[in-house]
């Protein structure tokens, strides 16, 4: 037995340290070896059998739950015949014992992401969010019983059928189905998962059916204060807005490098939560801070407060504390296409950044407002146009397509919310999202403003409007990743997509950030010569 004999296992007590150094490798173990995570818990399962064993254990649970109590107690009173250490044969033996004739479903090809199966010994919960969508796995749930799972699947089916009926104009069927849906909702856990998001969609559908299926409803308008509260809670409950703000700020900071006079135009000021971090970063930049002008666009006040001015004052106070020369201007406009470029008072000597966090999609309604707005943005000659949008297609002409897509999208978003922090913040954040859902499902025409489109469409649109893409650098990417590790839920992922960044829940991107630069228009003097 030489020192390099690889058949010596390190645990065999060989005192030759070079032997154990050789037999420990950094390669992943070959698939027919025992899974080392489960081995640590005392179970021996081969890595290439993990899926099968998982399926069988799931099936065993189903059978045990559905069996009459009398059968189980017989099993429980007997001594344990089978050694559970060898999980595969143990579960097979138990299944045979219970005389099941039901065929075990073929294992669905899933990601063999071992971190999901690590939950095994404690939960027997195989419903990780990595399940392939064709198994209805996009509505992932916390430990559900098989019965509840059936109800959830039925809920989704009936939702789709109802949406289809609405699209066809078959209102009587739709009303019946809504009653069905209410009944189903009573049978699922409406505190999380499909129960919760399902209830929002049922609500929206019933509003549409009852009120005005063709022309859509008009949503109740909230006061500016109420909107700000909802937005703030959404900001706190999940990382999407923080990701948007920090990524945008990093890109703007880089675009402003070396500039002494800078002007940021924010298409939706809200409470100005994005700007303190930029002000602070500018304060600390090498060479000192520039003169910063901020123009904040927001809806005109409908509750007597001048919210734009108040926020401007607070931001000015912060800027003064950190010695950044700062000037604020508020522009009140209920729609972005009401804004005229002269209101922004851009001076030719300053470097301009235009910041649009989930605003441009509101211009995709009937008419050409998006083209007009993109045109005057281009006229401002910004060094950077920052666009952050929801990564989904909720603007399809067919209602059923929109409905399906938004059901998938918002379920994923609610899953991610479920995995995050405490209670009170969450319910208001959910209300914020619920209003979006309502707008996508119930509204039509100019009232439907949540017309989200995916990144590929925005790329086409912006390119044809005369903008060139700016790659978001590795700094933005690393910062986004770091921001995510600070959140309590593992499951968020940042991806880089041709110079743009997306943030998603597991493999589904939910929000996309991209940066653009205006291509200067050819001047009239040089044309047509």
């Amino acid at each position: 037995m030489g020192p390099y004999d690889s058949s010596i296992s390190p645990a065999a007590g060989s005192s030759n340290s070079s032997s154990s150094a050789c037999s420990s490798s950094t390669k992943p173990p070959p698939p027919d070896q025992m899974d080392h995570l489960l081995a640590g818990a005392g179970y021996k399962v081969r890595s290439n059998e993990l899926n099968q064993v998982a399926e069988r254990l799931q099936h065993l649970e189903t059978v045990m739950v559905k069996s009459l109590p009398v059968d189980i107690s017989e099993m429980v009173n007997d001594a344990v015949y089978y050694n559970p250490t060898d999980l595969a044969s143990w579960v097979d033996s138990l299944l045979t014992e219970l005389n099941t004739n039901v065929t075990v479903p073929e294992p669905v090809p899933v990601n063999t992401d071992l971190s999901d199966l690590h939950e095994f010994p404690s939960g027997m919960n195989v419903y990780g969010s990595n399940h392939a969508p064709e198994m209805h796995g996009e509505f992932s749930q916390q430990a559900v019983t098989p019965l509840e799972e059936d109800v959830s699947i039925r809920l989704v089916h009936v939702l789709m059928t109802c949406a289809e009926a609405v699209q066809r104009g078959d209102l009587s069927l739709a009303s019946l189905l809504i009653d069905d849906l209410q009944a189903l909702l009573g049978r699922v856990n409406s505190g999380c998962g499909i129960g919760k998001v399902g209830s929002f969609f049922v609500d929206a559908l019933s509003q549409r059916v009852v009120n005005s299926p063709e022309n859509g409803v008009v949503q109740v308008e909230l006061t500016a204060y109420e909107n700000e509260i909802l937005y703030h809670h959404y900001y706190e409950a999940c990382p999407y807005l923080k990701f948007a703000h920090f990524t945008a700020n990093q890109a703007i900071l880089e675009a402003f490098d070396g500039q002494d006079c800078v002007h940021v135009i924010d298409f939706n000021l809200m409470q100005g939560l994005q700007w303190p971090a930029l002000i602070q970063a500018l304060a600390l930049r090498p060479g000192g801070p520039p003169l910063l002008r901020l123009t904040g666009i927001g809806p005109p006040s409908n509750d007597g407060r001048d919210s734009l001015r108040e926020i401007g004052l607070k931001l000015a106070e912060l800027a003064r504390s950190v010695n950044v020369r700062f000037a604020f201007r508020g522009v009140a406009a209920s729609r972005l296409d009401d804004v005229k470029p002269w209101m922004l008072q851009v001076s030719p000597k300053e470097a301009v950044a235009v910041n649009s966090i989930m605003q441009l999609h509101k211009l995709l309604g009937p008419g050409p407002p998006i083209d007009l707005v993109l045109d005057w943005i281009r006229d401002l000659n910004p060094r950077i146009l920052m666009v952050v949008e929801q990564e989904s297609n909720h603007n399809q002409p067919e209602f059923l397509d929109r409905f399906t897509e938004s059901l998938y999208y918002y379920s994923t978003m609610f899953d991610s919310l479920d995995a995050c922090t405490a209670q009170p913040e969450k319910s208001l954040a959910e209300l914020y999202i619920q209003r979006e859902i309502c707008n996508v499902v119930c509204c039509e025409g100019s009232a439907r403003v949540e017309r989200h489109e995916p990144l590929v469409r925005w790329r086409e649109r912006l390119t044809s409007a005369g903008f060139a893409p700016l790659h978001l650098g590795s700094n933005a990417f690393k910062q986004a990743r770091m921001l995510l590790t600070l959140f309590s839920a593992e499951g968020y992922s940042v991806e880089e997509n041709e110079g743009c960044l997306t943030l998603g829940w597991h493999s589904r991107p939910l929000i996309a950030a991209s940066a653009w630069q205006a291509i200067p228009k050819p001047s009239p003097a040089t044309m047509g010569r």
Binding site: L273, P276, L315, K478
Partner: protein, 144 residues
């Protein structure tokens, strides 16, 4: 007996080498220690002694304007570091990098602003952080 309280410079040298928790405990020893520990420069040292390269010149005035180093440590540095290195026992004995420090300062600034929004009283404001940083203090819910 060596009366350490008569040699404050030595005492500070010793205190500079402690971690945050021990500094907190040190503040409870006696009134003199308490007033020394409350000196912000000790906490500045704690925040950035492992930073390589050291923070830029303007950092101090910004941090002081936003609430000071002790607050920066309690509200941002400690939870951020423990979250970034979940599982390590020695929370502060690690080398920061520039990016981590910048992110921490930005979060500190957002927190200051949220207190501004919350209505007045920013000076000496409460010890508990504003809402947006509560996520840092929540227990990490990993794989349960």
């Amino acid at each position: 007996m060596f009366p350490i309280n008569d040699h404050v410079d030595l005492l500070i040298e010793v205190l500079q080498r402690l971690d945050g928790r021990s500094l907190g405990a040190a503040a409870c020893v006696c009134r003199q220690w308490c007033s020394i520990v409350r000196n912000d420069s000790l906490w500045e040292h704690l925040c950035f002694r492992q930073l390589s390269p050291p923070p830029s010149v303007g950092t101090r005035s910004v941090v002081l304007a936003l609430g000071g180093y002790r607050r920066l440590y309690m509200v941002c540095v400690r939870p951020v570091v423990s979250r970034l290195k979940a599982g390590e026992s020695e929370v502060v004995r690690r080398v920061w990098n520039q990016r981590e420090m910048e992110l921490t300062l930005s979060l500190f600034c957002v927190e200051y602003y949220e207190r501004l929004l919350g209505g007045g009283g920013v000076v000496g404001g409460g010890e508990s952080p504003a809402k947006s940083l509560k996520f840092l203090c929540q227990a990490v819910n990993v794989g349960l």
